[in-house]
Symmetry: D2
């Protein structure tokens, strides 16, 4: 054995050490905060970039990344491999280092777990998000806390949350990236045996119609909407494409600039995984610009 002038293990070990030094000190954690608004503990999952540990004074821009219905704060990592994509984009320089955080706004609807990003009777999630969650993140992590360093993105129900949050709080986000977004319920048809929690969710989505918001916007609101960079991304096989198209038509009519892409695919985790390759550089370009 000592005659061998090589070893793969040695190479792998040094490769792993190299990787740790060069681009893998990022980490992703799941933690909990207590919400007085919701009267409950809520989990969140947070990605901290490589230099976060070593550069102990530096503050970072932040992306709030929203999950979909029946999903939770862990889904972006478990199904869409958030950390792997973020590491790669930040290592290559395609995106600036940033903090990415997903709060839990979901769970199993059939078990009466609350889902949704809006205020509902008994579950004021939007109030929680803006009055408790954002301040909590800003107090507990070194994030920059101005509009120019805060973005929001999300998929499906979280894509609707993305648009609505940026519509109603256009002073708080520089960029919004909506994937396969539930922007409206207009075109959808009824079943009739949803439980009460589900009905609260539907009513809240109905009350926060993204298309009507644009159609009803006055000049001042339209001006505010123009201060956000918008990106709408929906697959050609997605059952929500029609609604997304209608949303872009309303935006165009209101002369609010946006990017729109229809890529290959349906309402699937692989679509959202690949969307991260567009989303993270997009919000990065809009930070501090």
């Amino acid at each position: 054995m000592n005659k061998l002038l090589f070893t793969v293990i040695a190479v792998f070990v040094s490769s792993i050490l190299f990787a740790q030094n060069a681009f893998s000190q990022s980490k992703i954690d799941t933690k909990t905060l207590n919400s007085k608004v919701l009267n409950a503990d809520r989990d969140y999952t947070i990605y901290l970039p490589k230099s976060y540990q070593t550069d102990s004074e530096r503050r970072y821009p932040v992306l709030y990344l929203l999950h979909g219905m029946t999903e939770t704060n862990k889904t972006w990592q478990n199904n869409m491999r958030l950390k792997e994509v973020a590491d790669r984009l930040m290592e290559s320089g395609d995106a600036k280092e940033m903090i990415i955080v997903t709060p839990n706004a979901g769970g199993d609807l059939s078990k009466n777990q609350w889902n949704g990003y809006f205020n509902m009777p008994g579950w004021e999630y939007e109030t929680f998000f803006f009055d408790e969650f954002i301040p909590f993140i800003e107090n507990n992590y070194r994030v920059k806390s101005d509009k120019n360093n805060r973005a929001v993105a999300g998929l499906s129900m979280g894509g609707g949350g993305t648009v609505v949050y940026a519509q109603k709080h256009s002073d708080m986000f520089c960029a919004a990236y909506a994937m396969s977004a539930l922007v409206s319920l207009n075109n959808l048809t009824a079943s009739g045996d949803e439980n009460e929690i589900t009905m609260h969710l539907y009513r809240s989505v109905l009350a926060n119609d993204c298309i009507k918001f644009v159609e009803n916007a006055d000049d001042n609101t339209k001006n505010n909407l123009r201060t956000v960079s918008w990106f709408i991304d929906c697959g050609d096989d997605d059952f929500l494409l029609d609604n997304n198209v209608d949303f872009t038509r309303a935006m165009k009519k209101a002369a609010i600039p946006y990017q729109f892409r229809v890529r290959d695919g349906g309402h699937t985790s692989e679509y959202w995984h690949t969307a991260l390759y567009l989303c993270i550089p997009f919000v990065s370009r809009n930070f501090d610009n």
Copy 2:
């Protein structure tokens, strides 16, 4: 509730049904065969495309997809999401329907589990692969069994396996796609405390040097190598890039055509995940051409 003229659940359900009909009848299974050559049971994981269940007479081209060191037959699905990528590419038409199968050639080296694609004293894996595994697949699944419908691909140790199998059996594969391939051990340095199983692996890699194979090839062998379509793909941060470059230089000198790409990234699962988007269409184009 009955006043609501919509329901998201209904849409999701119909969407899921639609998805099942339209592009999700593919499946991925893990099964076992008994090898007389290895005197052991070996697992394999197999992807069967959408139409496989319904089109009961049809035969399919086949891709043998090899995993890396310390990995197993399950790694391509668990870490690189093989099914999700394959479904998407076949649904859009970017790739033809095909069967994709990964045999187990690995496991935990520290627990003395055999690793490697070549013949070693006590573990004749290459013999198993060609004499038992390929015939087993061809007898138990509706695969086309000619060179023009058989391809091989793999990552790292499996990238080396890919090149060597296609070099030594150029009459059997129309295409070979090597990712971050361990094509040689020349440049690697020694540690000295590997166990015997590991040393068998190293000696087998040393004995199957892909670069020397090309350098030593006679005209007849070179002609045979030209009947395979070659694709070499390695990240700009990969510690194996130098070896891969040297392999392409040997191929160029021998006038054997190949595609070569250096994309962004290191020796990571995300690199190989994205490699599938190139690999599967590449082998598809070469099937039956």
Copy 3:
């Protein structure tokens, strides 16, 4: 000077020779045929792949590539660099070798030059295309002459021509790729001082509405439309996007499968240049499949 052991010129010269041997024997020519239907000479521009000169018995699949309004047969090469893209895709294997031909269906409208792909009083272009031009190409070049080896693609007015030709002659084309297509005139508003040639063009487009064709299709026609592979590609800033979306909605309602992409850009030559990277591999995959 003779002390120098190198020379860039030598390298460039050998590089150019290498290029000629390896991937540059393709050529693009502009020629003329006489049309009895149109009672006029008409130019066309034809791309012949690398092996066409040397492989004197081989027959090739053919792509009919249609230009836009006020453009001519030369525009695909002059503005969109057809040959450079085709050479690259065929050299890498991303597309099979094929013949690509653009007939002249345009020119300066203000100078009363006929434009358009349909039959108009005094200018029966569709009759010319199917009764004279396709037979002429098949008689004068080694093209395969079956549906499985014939595709059509085009931009703007030629995108409309693409869809209409494949709708009315679904037995003749295996694939149709429409870029920024003028599929309908419904949404457009009037000026009132067009000349007679222009009015013929408009009336012919109005009479060949792609959306209405799908809406009015009976079951048999729908079945025929399903034998063509459809690809609709339109930029997010294109003024024709709304019409293209409406066309995909009609196709979806009729259960005719298609690919749909909205990429970044407007009604520009750079959009169509980049579309070639999708179009040529798409038709290639559909040839003889």
Copy 4:
């Protein structure tokens, strides 16, 4: 005619007007300056972004984009469609607005026109570039004049110029993007009948070997080189790939970070056209970062 409720012309006209307002006020001009260093008039071609005309106080980052041997300042536009790509990337937000300028460092070698970016007996181009050209641009256009807003890029001979300029003036450029770069003459072989102008060029390239510069760099120089963001991009069929690989190996050994890509293609205008889609966003990300 007045019965028609539409007109394509009207749409085209309004489309063109829309385009002009929305994203086409950029312009590209060719102008001349007189060089005392060279004792000659020299042309340059300059791209001014959309807002340059209307935002009369704003200053812009600047990219110096170098052409190849026998080419001139006009080649980036004529062969690689610089304006079309730049417009598209800046309109979508993939790149910040910037000024892009190409000085003339070439022409017909056989007619004894000087080529090259370095100082030669009788043609001190590097002196001209740094002492006259950059100051001229900074005095005559609203460019930001600090390292963080100045980048350099180029192809072939201009790729070599890019690397050398950023090596010798690392305090002046935040980013360098080298395409198919002539980084060295080591591997090239001799012809012997070059004219004197050509020999001056070769000797100047030999004297400015990018690989040796890195190999010979002391620690201070290496530190300076680490203040530049490097991107090396070369095609898998390019005859200069070996030299580019050797350059990246020297960089790696010296622990100077860089991005490296090998994409599909040779030493062709289409390779460089597509390189612009990587280059312009890359330098944009590095501006003022």
